[in-house]
Amino acid sequence: MSTQTTTLDAPGAQLVQQRIAWRTPVIYLVVGALAFVFFGLLTSADEVTRFTVSTSRDFVTISPFAVPSKLVGLVLSVAALGLAGWATYLTRERRKVPTWVPITFGGLVLLAFLVWVMAGNGNALPLTLLLTGALVLSAPLVFGALAGLLCERSGIINIAIEGQLLAGAFLAVVVASITGNPYAGLVAAPVAGALVGGVLVMFAVRYWVDQIIVGVVLNVLVIGVTNYLFSTVLTQNPQALNNPPRLPTLPIPVLSQIPVIGPVLFNHSLVIYLMYAAVAVLQVMVFRSRWGLRMRSVGEHPKAADTVGIKVNLTRVKNTVLGGAVAGLGGAALVAAGLAFTKELTSGKGYIALAAMILGRWSPKGALAAALLFGFADSLRQVLGNLGSPVPSQFLSMLPYLATIFAVAGLVGRVRPPAAEGKPYVK
């Protein structure tokens, strides 16, 4: 610390070398070795793995191809092991391991896994669709996690994400059906989410009700209300009330024509682009803007914020309502393909979003990464279930949840929530 007293000169001499953090390289090495044995050595030599990379709708079509499973498995896992070795070397030399290393390593191991699991399968693995599926499935989770972090960063625990997603999806469907305009639904969804957020924060701030109670109860309330409206109103006239048009796909010129990346990232409806924008904007605003600074101060130490004239409760109200609105958008994303409303169609996604928020350490880009991890595992489980795998479907269904536990225990570790979350501010 260069901030001792004025009489001290800057220290530094006694700063010995950083203790080496062996955990990460060890994980790389173990995973790499396992990949080498299972995805390489133990694969039978005369099997092939088939891939399709593009769909007929793509600009550049690449025809399906097959690769020898064992050889490719070996090559990929050896490459991964190499990277792991290099990362170990860098760690020992106390040099920083560049960010692309874990990403590439993960990619290699994953590919090796796919080659292994599809070895000998008569069907080809639709690679592009696997990734598109991951993105689309994670979109509601991303919005949900962003909503959660907006609330929690200001000190309000938002367990009601599930209810906000559901309310958003409901209103989006109804409004889009009545107006016949999918964009009207996209505008309406945040209103529903914000309303739920408003109730949450009213009870939390005005009546000091435990925020978790309010959240859990609001979920029940929204389920009850939407179920009721669905049964009594929507089913009476599904044509007019529960028949939303599809949000049109808007391919981004040029970008959408890049092979693989184009269809995966740049050939979506507006709601996915809104997701990109929301993550990018919030990442900047939460950490760099006046609004973000004040929001975080209120979530960390409300009394300190109060002593510099920040209106603690007002800040919480505003952010929770905004968060609710963002979650509402997530509901819209869930039905963006023009899906009709069905009872409890969020099926627990709000809770997964909550986990993604924590896994992402209450930061927008972290939330994106965590949601993508879950979405990818979910997409992969679908693909494997569809194409036939020896693993019982129940175990495939566990995949996303196991992957999340692995991520939080193995890669992320201790996370620190906003210090004042869940505590009502009473002077």
Partner: protein
């Protein structure tokens, strides 16, 4: 153990044409966790109950269950409310209905999709409890044959909500139907999403996540499937949605005729046919018999023969499907009805 004969003599007369006039009879129904709007067997059963209420002039009561803990209390509430006939929907209600039947010998019971058995899984019967069963696999077999014949890509697909017997019975019949087509025509049409041998395949994991149904279907389509059978209640809407975005992909609906459902109006032209399981009719018939004092506890088994299960009309695909194929399907139907061909599924309830 059939219903005692004396009962019919004692019961009051309730004529066939009873529209409007009130009859002193209460028929009651309890859903499983799906609830009445499950776009599946609860909904079909409930329609039967409502029809009975309208047409027979009887009183009806219903209770939805949200979890297994409520089955017994719902049966009890029905008994308290003076129901004459209590119908449970789904195998999950077996124990609750069974206990109710034992405790209330003067009330009639019925159970959809399951027979009664004891702890050792030996079938048991009760004089006042009637199982309503369906050989769904028979109709699904025809659908599989039809799907294989219609497929241009040589790949068809199916997925379920959860691996329940009432779900996989569709998938078993479907897979066998496709295999039969391959056998008859020397083709190699593939079924994605279900392996009958291993009893394992593609499952959404619930009956509510339409979006997952949509993405699953997209993946099937990407893998070349062009006829898809979703067996997951409302999740099927996701399949219709995905099919509407692809060229030449057809959907086979389940439970009721999907072409006629208002919710499917937009995409009904994609519905090739439906594997119908006419629970509503079975429920209505059971209630009607009971009202007329003709309740009997012998299991009702819906088959192609008695129309309890069936393949829906082709509607818009009429004339588009190869006539030979239609003829072959009709022929198979006759074979099944005659007993010449037996379609098996481990999920079918054995009835002697």
């Amino acid at each position: 153990a059939a219903a005692p004969d004396e009962e019919s003599e004692e019961s009051p007369e309730a004529g066939g044409e009873s529209t409007g006039e009130m009859v002193d009879y209460t028929a009651c129904m309890i859903s499983d966790e799906g609830g009445w709007d499950d776009a599946s067997f609860n909904e079909s059963g409930f329609e039967g109950l409502q029809r009975a209420g309208d047409e027979l002039g009887i009183e009806t009561k219903d209770a939805e269950s949200t979890d297994p803990g409520q089955y017994a209390s719902n049966v009890d509430a029905m008994v308290q409310e003076g129901c004459d006939l209590i119908i449970g929907v789904g195998f999950a209600l077996e124990d609750a209905i069974e206990a109710g039947a034992q405790a209330n010998p003067d009330i009639n019971f019925a159970l959809i999709d399951s027979a009664f058995s004891d702890t050792e899984f030996n079938p048991v019967t009760y004089d006042n409890a009637k199982p309503l069963l369906f050989n769904t696999q028979e109709a699904a077999y025809l659908a599989g044959y039809m799907a294989a014949g219609v497929s241009e890509t040589g790949t068809v697909a199916t997925y379920g909500g959860q691996p329940f017997p009432s779900v996989t019975i569709f998938m078993d019949g479907f897979a066998d139907g496709v295999a039969r087509y391959n056998e008859d025509n020397g083709t190699n049409v593939q079924v994605l999403g279900w392996d009958k041998e291993a009893q394992n395949g593609s499952m959404i994991g619930n009956f509510s996540d339409t979006e997952a149904g949509r993405t699953t279907t997209e993946q099937f389509i990407a893998s070349g499937a062009d006829v898809i059978l979703p067996v997951a209640g409302p999740v099927g809407a996701g399949t219709l949605n995905a099919a509407s975005q692809a060229e030449g992909v057809k959907v086979i609906w389940v439970d009721s005729d999907g072409y006629l459902q208002p919710a499917n109006e937009e995409n009904k032209d994609l519905i090739l046919t439906s594997v119908m399981k006419l629970i509503g009719n079975a429920v209505f018939d059971t209630i009607e018999n009971a009202v007329n004092g003709e309740f009997d506890a012998t299991p009702y088994v819906g088959t192609l023969e008695n129309g309890g299960v069936d393949l829906a009309p082709l509607h818009d695909f009429e004339g588009q499907v190869d006539e030979e194929l239609v003829a072959a399907v009709d022929d198979l139907k006759q074979q099944i009805i005659s007993g010449e061909l037996v379609v098996e599924s481990p999920s079918a309830t054995p009835t002697e």
